[in-house]
Amino acid sequence: MKRFTLSLAALLCLGGIAQAKVDWESKGMQIAGEIMANPAAFFYDFQQDLEATTPLPPGKRFGVQTSLFPTTIPMTYTNVSLKARLHGEGRIAPGVPQLDLIGGYWNMLAAKMATKDSQTIDSAKFGGYYMGAILSSSVSPRVRTFWGYKRSQMKAKLDFKAGEEPMFLGTAISSFDTGFKDDFFIAGIETPKGIGKLWSIQLNYGIKTQTISSKVSWYGKIFELGLNIYPEGVLVVHPVWNFHLNF
């Protein structure tokens, strides 16, 4: 863990030097443009940060997780994820992989708070959920591969106050109801690096959006640290910090 933290700190320092000449104003405008072009995808990347898509460790039946960064802080995504093992590897028949059900829900507090101060927005709901299943199978005592499927949905609903509706081609728009929905295939590999400590790397492929993302995680008994990479996202790399308990 110490080595991991030091490596991360060194990387951040090097990154700072390398980007000393970046035109931040220009970069900021570029990012704003990308968010405007596809806001749902931007916010969905944070949903992926909180999604617990690794299998339960061998021998664990149930897991609960909440993501702390960058979801709860600073995005105010209050969230909870659950995992439940249906059966362990080889329990039903030799070679049958472990099967875990996964799912979770989040809601953005800031959206509700902003509504209170807005003169034009009547109500705002911003949240999402995901659910899926993960199969995991050992290729050696210390290497497990896993495959899975998840359905993710993010919903953003905005109702404008009567008389304050924006106009579009001569028509008043009373509400926006938009979001993001996709089915993902998950494939990954994990290996222990200590008692109760695991490294995992996984790829997620969105079938409809045809996007790919990867998660590299280090997780212990209580916390998970990770780097999520969204090659087509606005913020390509998300550092992630999650709290979890497995029983």
């Binding site: 035109d23 104003e25 220009s26 970069k27 405008m29 570029q30 704003a32 443009g33 990308e34 405007m36 072009a37 596809n38 806001p39 749902a40 995808a41 969905y44 460790p57 061998p58 021998g59 362990g88 590897e89 080889g90 329990r91 039903i92 028949a93 030799p94 050992s138 050696s140 005592p141 210390r142 949905q153 919903k155 579009f168 081609l169 001569g170 028509t171 008043a172 728009i173 009373s174 509400s175 926006f176 109801d177 938009t178 979001g179 993001f180 929905k181 290996t191 222990p192 690096k193 200590g194 008692i195 409809k208 959006t209």
Partner: protein, 601 residues
Amino acid sequence: MPAAIWAAESKVLSMSGAVEVRPTREGQWTPARDEMEIAEGGAIRTGAGGAAVVIMPNKTKVWLKENSALELEQRQTLASRLALVFGKIKVRVPHLMRKEKFEVRTPAAVCAVRGTEFTMGTTEDGKMELQVLFGEVKLKFMIPPEKGDSEFNIPQGQGLKLAEKGKATKPELLTPKAEREALENWNPGLKPSERQKDLQQKEMDRAQIKDFAKATAKAEDTVKSFLNVVKESDLEAGRTLTDVHGNLVRVEQRMIRPDPSTIQFMNIVKRPNYSDYAQAANGFKYNGGAVPDRLDLAQMSMGFDSALPQRIEEWPGFFNSNTINPTYSSFIMANRTEADSIFFVAEGYRYDATRDELVDNLSVFNPGQSYAVNDSNDKHTIITGVLTDVVATTDLNEAQDMLNAISRLNIKDTAIVGGATYSDGATTLQYKNSAGTYVGINTVGPATNVKWAMNATETATTGKNYEYSVDGNNAPLYQFQADAYAIGNDMTGTVANQGLLWYAREDYVIGNGGGIKNVEDLTNSSQDPFTMLKGVAAQSIVYIKQSGTADIANLSTNGAAYSAISNTDYFGTKNIDVVIIPDLFVAGIQRMLPAFTNLSN
């Protein structure tokens, strides 16, 4: 089924070297042989160099290394217990029935397993070690240690070593050496060099897979770099759909740089057949009839006073670190079905250095002149008409040359440049031809008829434009609009009394099937914007109509304005019908937003 399984006894599957079996609890030790049965209470032991494999009725396999002793303590329908007295064993418990228990005991601990593979070693005085290869082992010490836990759930990849009975210990990760020894082939009769043959083969296979993955990644990088180069050099998109009148439409979009300081966005609309259509209620009349091989064009150009970087990705930094201004911008819509006779409408914007912004007022026809914001000549202007070739059959394309000049705002009205604020909008209008000479635009080609005009209805006190749209929740997204333009800005008719023309447009938001979208189709969707925009297009049908009145003061209401719009076209019978897809526009905005922030208007 269980009865059938338990009807059989455990037996010796294979063996080598010195192996003895005690078939029953009270039986005598006798030399073992293949297929020899061992009942409950029976035992098996190996001497120096001996090895054996025992198979149990529930398919559990137990491998014994040399100098080991194993007793089958319990063997009931739903409970089995082995006792490892000393030595080393490997146990593979493939699958147990519901509620079935399987335990292995040593002098120090009891291990409960299900669907598990593990190895275990012990001495008679209680030292032991355990390596869990697959699954999980629940271990409980017979004598709880003074400190630490007495029970552990040990998952695969971990093991445990007990140096002394009753001493505290805890699970630890398997070392590669221990894992290798546990995974090797434990079958009897193998030489030491043969035991790890399978493992070595697997390692070679993995190395080959790694090499293959590296080669694939390298090839992928090469393809990515190639695609990036292609993407950077140009932007393009295309879609086939049906328009609002049911015509099949192919839309091609390009963003190009005709020269280093100009950006040009082209939206080319091709239709194999353009059918005649009836006038929409509250819309405008089309007089052109059915047309085969129809081609329409929407084109936006913008010029800058410096050359832009070659790579689009460098533009944001360039616009922020350089003082760069646009010199002009133009938006042209044209019916290009006939190459030698082009019907078009163009809106031009020149850079006004005094106001530091792009303006579309009278200065479009008087380059360099600045008009104040409240000046009566600071109103929107258009240039429209028909451009024709001098001789249709030759390769010389004067019509296109004129359109290019209009696109670059290489135009002027010599009467306006001379100091007047109005003209007849035609005879003094000039364009710079490809030879670099200004010539009268209406002197080129036998039927060229071009006029410029200024918006006459921008001041609501004297006249009104025409607008029609459907209100209400979830209204269909279409809008009809027409604005009166005074030709040559000659509101008084002093010069030649050219009067008014109407710049009329029918705008629709349509789906790929041609249906008109409703508001909620766009605002209430679970799709992300990119996916949603793939199914949406805008169709704009443009007409230039004659006016039933020359006095905009008569246009006091929306209805009066509509009545003043003649069904007769001002130039021939053509219209312009463009379908614009948002695909390239969104990508362009996304990539060029910083550039637009520097343009105040």
